[in-house]
């Protein structure tokens, strides 16, 4: 019977991972829902943002006291940079692919995986990067836990709720949701579709950047992480269903927790277990647990 300590630790780790997966998958799902483009490079943008965050933080840490406070400008800076990058990529690359067939769109974002991934190597080399936050473990639930976990879970929840609120309560959000449903209707109403697309893409990338930023103190940024993560994101959107924030949320937590706990039971098999869930879902409910009937 594993230690209660260990279980709780894994639970928090799993929830944190789930939060990050959610932020990434929500962006992926939104981009696909609105623009019908599957951004293979989504996790690669995320990784890039992580490296940028670490770089900014390290730079600031040389001048000031290293600590949580410095993380804030680092994350903000990285997010801003990535939003700009997202806008550029959308304007000059993705935009050309809207009327193309699916395989060509997939190839484009797949090529971006290679370009950005190798670009990371070019800029930062092969070394892992991470941030070491000086933290004192805090006692909670009878166990000592890194308080940073709370921060991640909190930040993730805030963004999740914010995203939901934006999509359901604001005028712009409703337009975006309408665009998922019918591009033509929205365009017929005189709302410029290219702007919506640019906005959605940049927002998706921005959220991914934020996720990378807050995760960087927990996990080293390493080459190749992007592929493992994007596959988990795919698992999440398949399990949860494209186009459902709630589904994405639930599925993310599920995948995150399963991943963390399988490290206890079967360390190498984490991905395999998630995989089996994906297969099961695809057999019984191909449109995901919360999704609506498949889009063709």
């Amino acid at each position: 019977m594993p230690d209660l300590n260990v279980i709780l630790l894994q639970l928090f780790a799993g929830l944190s991972r789930g939060m990050v997966l959610f932020l990434l998958s929500a962006g992926l799902s939104l981009i696909f829902g609105v623009m019908n483009v599957l951004n293979f490079a989504h996790a690669t943008f995320w990784l890039f943002a992580g490296y940028v965050t670490v770089t900014i933080y390290s730079y600031l840490a040389e001048m000031f006291e290293p600590g949580f406070v410095l993380l804030v400008p680092a994350v903000i800076g990285a997010t801003a940079l990535m939003v700009v990058l997202g806008l550029v990529v959308e304007r000059f690359l993705i935009r050309r692919m809207y009327n193309r067939e699916l395989p060509e769109q997939l190839l484009l974002t797949f090529a971006l995986v290679l370009i950005i991934g190798d670009g990371i190597k070019l800029i930062w080399g092969v070394q892992n990067r991470r941030i070491f936050l000086p933290v004192t473990p805090v006692e909670a639930f009878g166990v000592f836990i890194n308080p940073y976990y709370f921060f991640i879970i909190g930040a993730g929840l805030t963004v999740a709720i914010g995203l939901w609120a934006f999509l359901h309560l604001t005028k712009y959000g409703k337009i975006v949701r309408a665009a998922v449903f019918s591009r033509d209707m929205v365009s017929a109403l005189g709302i410029p579709i290219p702007m919506i697309y640019a906005g959605v893409f940049a927002a998706g990338i921005g959220i991914a950047a934020f996720a990378a930023g807050i995760f960087s103190p927990l996990l080293p940024m390493a080459l190749g992480t992007d592929i493992a993560i994007i596959i988990q994101c795919f698992a999440v959107v398949v399990i949860g269903g494209f186009g459902s924030i709630l589904g994405t949320f639930v599925a993310s937590l599920l995948v995150g927790i399963v991943y963390s706990f399988s490290i206890l039971i079967w360390p190498d098999g984490a991905l395999a277990i998630i995989f089996l869930i994906v297969i099961a879902v695809l057999i019984w409910r191909p449109w995901g647990l919360f999704g609506t009937e498949l889009r063709t």
Binding site: L107, A111, L112, L271
Partner: protein, 352 residues
């Protein structure tokens, strides 16, 4: 003389411009080229040509799913790798700890084991993947590919994991690069001929209808899923042939052969050469392999390079090299010179 005969005879240019017409001269050119490679000085060209042939076959097997059936698989290398491991592990087993070379019977037996094992893998994976198409197919194949890579990577006791399997020497006769090269050329040529037959059979034409309109195909009374699965298995088998050859060629195998990067190679070759034409991927292999060999002399940032090239091709020339050629020919034959020709006005868009 039926209208069809006169159509066919009078419009060789249009025929050239449509898919199969263009392939034939290119195939002949390539084959003659391949035959003559050993005339070039040194071992370098022979090695490169062997690699082009094997990877080209791999890419053509991928194109059965892509150009002919309209799907994109990011996990096709899993079957290439399974073929490689089936053959490689058998070769290892037969060689045992003995000092002598592998026997010829054992060598051919090992080679023959590759495709059926790969086909079996494709049957299992395909069963799940063909349930859905488009995006989901792409995601699923990627995920399955990574899963199989992971299994090979982790199962150290059976596959030697990340260490890979070394020392896969073919029998004495084939240790000579030229001999092995001609052997490879023979196998690949036979495989390509077989593929040509399959692609032009009734089965092959149904693949095209599935590509063009899956729903309508079902309304013709065809079980689309079963058909796709059959094709998936066939494609996997051909990938297994390529994989089987790879081990003795490189003298070693590693789990990376099953991964997404290897899968990407097939996708890129098909894109570069032209996915809508039969021999396109082989042509793509020629270009890709040379490019790879050349660029890696100067820089280690190959993924960045190929990524940029693919980006450019996808945006500006999605039909690949042969697609561009076809466009040129199609444009030229647009001028009507006979009544039959004016009835057909070929489009010059890439997607034919």
């Amino acid at each position: 003389m039926t209208p069809r005969d006169s159509n066919v005879r009078a419009n060789w240019r249009i025929r050239l411009a449509t898919g199969d017409g263009l392939s034939l001269p290119v195939v002949l050119l390539l084959f003659v080229g391949f035959l003559l490679v050993p005339l070039l000085p040194g071992r370098f060209w022979i090695i490169v040509a062997t690699e082009i042939l094997i990877l080209g076959l791999f890419a053509m097997s991928f194109n059965l799913l892509h150009g002919y059936m309209g799907q994109i698989s990011f996990g096709h290398a899993a079957f290439f790798g399974i073929g490689a491991y089936a053959t490689g592990l058998l070769m290892r087993y037969f060689k045992g700890t003995g000092a002598g070379d592998l026997g010829y019977f054992e060598f051919f037996f090992s080679l023959l084991a590759g495709p059926p094992v790969a086909a079996l893998g494709a049957l299992v994976v395909g069963f799940f993947c063909v349930r859905l198409t488009g995006i989901y197919f792409a995601i699923l194949t990627l995920a399955f590919g990574e899963l199989l890579y992971y299994i090979v990577f982790s199962w150290y006791s059976f596959t030697k994991g990340d260490d890979g399997v070394q020392g896969l020497l073919p029998p004495a006769l084939f240790q000579n690069a030229i001999n092995f090269y001609y052997f490879t050329l023979l196998v690949v040529a036979l495989a390509v001929c077989l593929m040509w037959r399959i692609v032009n059979s009734p089965f092959g034409y149904i693949l095209r209808t599935i590509r063009d309109n899956q729903r309508r195909t079902a309304f013709l009374g065809i079980n689309v899923r079963a058909h796709m699965l059959a094709n998936f298995v066939i494609a996997g088998a051909f990938a297994g042939v390529a994989g089987a050859l790879w081990g003795p060629f490189q003298r070693s195998i590693a789990p990376g052969l099953l991964g997404w990067e290897q899968s990407g190679i097939a996708v890129f070759m098909a894109l570069i050469g032209g996915a809508k034409l039969f021999i396109g991927p082989m042509l793509g292999s020629v270009v890709y392999t040379f490019l790879h060999a050349w660029v890696t002399i100067y820089t280690v940032y190959w993924p960045l390079t190929i990524g940029l090239i693919i980006l450019a091709i996808v945006i500006f020339a999605p039909g690949g090299l042969l697609g561009l050629v076809k466009e040129r020919l199609g444009a030229r034959s647009k001028r009507p010179t006979s009544p039959e020709q004016s009835a057909a006005t070929p489009e010059t868009g890439g997607a034919q």
